[in-house]
């Protein structure tokens, strides 16, 4: 398989001269840590880096005789997620015990939901939702190898602070077809959850975790192939790369006439390697049964009304509003709304009372184009040195032609590097647009003389030859000249 064009799966297969093309069928399971004050079934506070085993009690340690009671706010957050995804909210929901032996669970079962989850069905944009259920997180294991501090034996240290943290598990239908689509959709889901305020949704810190179920089928057929599960990927980049690696692995097996084995895999982003975690047949024999310690949850009118009242504006509604009220292009509106950190920054910049005010579309372009390019995709501009009001002021200056586009980009470079006020940077660096038309005309005339060959070609009708002349003017003016005006003057002086 060639590198470089992984998204065009069919073209890749054809280029290798294979007759058969495959289509990837991908479903996601997303675990979201809910931003409650306390754990799912006890009053211990959630932990954010406290010393190990300082946020535990009889319930979350699974001591005999303790009685779990479900957290009302976790149910409330679960209902909000269901409403945001257009799910059907179950009138009655029950908790099950999922039995397995592993030191991350002192009870030897995880309290989860099985055949009566809180929410069923729904969709987010083009991807259908299968279900949303609530469960408790496991404890954290720190593995200590024989080369570590504990000599002579392989051991683990268990920290129960995380054990019992409320999780919502969101399961999609297998509607995703490419690694890129998985990444983009997950970003939209994260924005939605962030708007809802139900989670910190921080992948690096583990409050948003994603597993992917992946299978391949021959293009044009409907029958699903054998699937594998890719576990616990903790960044958007790794998710896309991990899925891509697994799709390629399966394609190779199937193309050579082999069969994919159903298994759970771990993707190592450092080496790009996929390793098998455990035998699925054994691990998935969880012997679910209703937890007799927990009463069924009855979702009544009042709980649903409370969840409805708490609903904020969601990304799709926000995109429609930005388009309707600010006349943004559909692309800009969606970009800002679906990446809520960009949308929040944009609206904060618009709200900053700067004079002259920036036109909305131009502000959107500067934010999603120039600023994002400087900060790196996925970085939150709110965390940068460029305050929303500073970007608004800069775009206002450019729109009023007090600063040229080129000089404006220099100001932005300076804002990104050191912060500060655009007008002050313009003054200090001498980047104000030239307002003397005569001064500019003289510089243009010099530039035309210095680039006689280019000038001749422009006269002969080669409009691209204007480049060196414009470049000359921009060097002389340190980018302060307005590009459109320079071009107009050159054409005027050359009589074309």
């Amino acid at each position: 398989m060639r590198d470089g064009e992984p998204q065009d799966l069919d073209a890749g297969a054809a280029a290798d001269g294979r007759a058969e093309a495959f289509e990837a069928v991908i479903g996601l399971e997303i675990h979201v840590q809910l931003a409650t004050a306390t754990k799912m079934f006890c009053g211990c506070e959630l932990s954010f880096g406290e010393p190990p085993n300082t946020r535990t009690c009889a319930v979350c340690l699974g001591l005999p005789g303790s009685l779990p009671v479900a957290n009302a706010r976790a149910i409330h957050f679960g209902l909000m997620i269901g409403l945001a995804l257009g799910s059907e909210l179950a009138p009655r929901s029950i908790f099950h015990r999922k039995n397995y032996f592993y030191p991350d669970q002192a009870k030897n079962y995880q309290i989860s939901q099985y055949d009566e989850p809180l929410c069923r069905g729904g969709s987010l944009e083009e991807i259908r939702i299968h279900r949303v259920h609530l469960e408790e997180d496991a404890a954290k294991l720190i593995h200590v190898g024989s080369s570590g501090r504990i000599h002579g034996s392989d051991a683990s240290i268990v920290d129960f602070n995380r054990g019992g943290t409320p999780l919502a598990e969101i399961v999609t239908e297998p509607d995703i077809r490419t690694p890129e689509q998985a990444g983009e959709w997950l970003k939209l889901l994260r924005s939605t959850l962030r708007r809802l305020g139900v989670s910190d949704v921080n992948m690096e810190e583990g409050s948003l975790r994603c597993d992917a179920n992946i299978s391949l089928r021959r293009a044009g057929t409907e029958e699903l192939g054998v699937k594998t599960e890719l576990k616990n990927m903790n960044s958007f980049r790794f998710i896309e790369r991990g899925i891509r690696a697994e799709v390629e692995r399966q394609r190779k097996i199937l193309s050579e006439g082999g069969e994919v084995t159903q298994e759970t895999l771990h993707f190592d982003p450092a080496s790009g390697a996929l390793t098998s975690l455990r035998s699925k047949e054994e691990a998935h024999d969880y012997r679910y049964f209703p937890d007799p310690d927990l009463l069924p949850v009855a979702i009544d009118r009042e709980m649903i009304d409370l969840a409805r009242e708490a609903m904020p504006e969601l990304p799709a509604e926000r995109a429609a509003r930005l388009q309707r009220e600010l006349e943004l292009s559909p692309e800009s509106a969606q970009r800002l709304a679906f990446a809520s950190e960009l949308g929040d920054y944009f609206e904060a910049a618009l709200d900053a009372a700067v004079d002259p005010p920036p036109p909305a579309q131009m502000l959107a372009n500067w934010l999603t184009g120039d600023l994002v390019a400087r900060l790196g995709d996925g970085e939150d501009p709110q965390a940068s040195r460029v305050r929303p009001a500073a970007l608004a002021e800069l775009v206002g200056l450019v729109a009023a032609r007090r600063v040229s586009v080129g000089a404006g980009r220099q100001v932005l470079d300076s804002l990104v590097a050191e912060g500060g006020e655009p007008q002050a940077i313009v003054d200090a660096e001498g980047l104000a647009a030239m307002d003397g038309a005569e001064e500019l005309a003289v510089i243009v005339a010099d530039a035309v003389r210095a680039n006689a060959d280019a000038a001749e070609r422009v006269r002969e009708g080669n409009s691209k030859a204007i480049g060196p002349i414009v470049g000359h003017v921009m060097r002389e003016t340190k980018g302060r000249a307005d590009g459109t005006e320079v071009s107009r003057l050159i054409h005027e002086q050359l009589g074309v």
């Binding site: 409650t36 009053g43 211990c44 190990p52 009690c57 009302a72 030191p103 683990s156």
Partner: protein, 94 residues
């Protein structure tokens, strides 16, 4: 009738060590339990929703208000071995 392989599989899932001489009696006893369940399965209960709980109560929820956690010394006093403020256990990866 449950076979010895099934007994071994269930024993593995439950992390129970079952001796060779226990396999046959256990298979017999488990089969008797299943036969009994199968007998109950003969009843026509198509109109009866499954009973997940024997009490008719619902809605026992807890407000999201913190309560004090246990002191770590108390918690770790129950651990068979302790290291770095945590429960020291044999590695599941070993």
């Amino acid at each position: 009738m449950i076979g010895r392989d099934e007994v071994l599989h269930v024993a593995l899932l439950a992390r129970l060590a079952v001796g060779e001489e226990e396999l046959e009696p256990m298979a017999r006893e488990l089969s008797a339990v299943l036969d009994h369940i199968a007998k109950m399965g003969e009843l026509d209960l198509s109109d009866v929703p499954p009973t997940s709980h024997v009490v008719e109560l619902t809605g026992a929820l807890r407000p999201d208000e913190p309560r004090p956690s246990l002191p770590r010394e108390t918690v770790l006093a129950q651990a068979p071995a302790v290291s770095d403020g945590g429960f020291l256990v044999p590695s599941p990866q070993a």
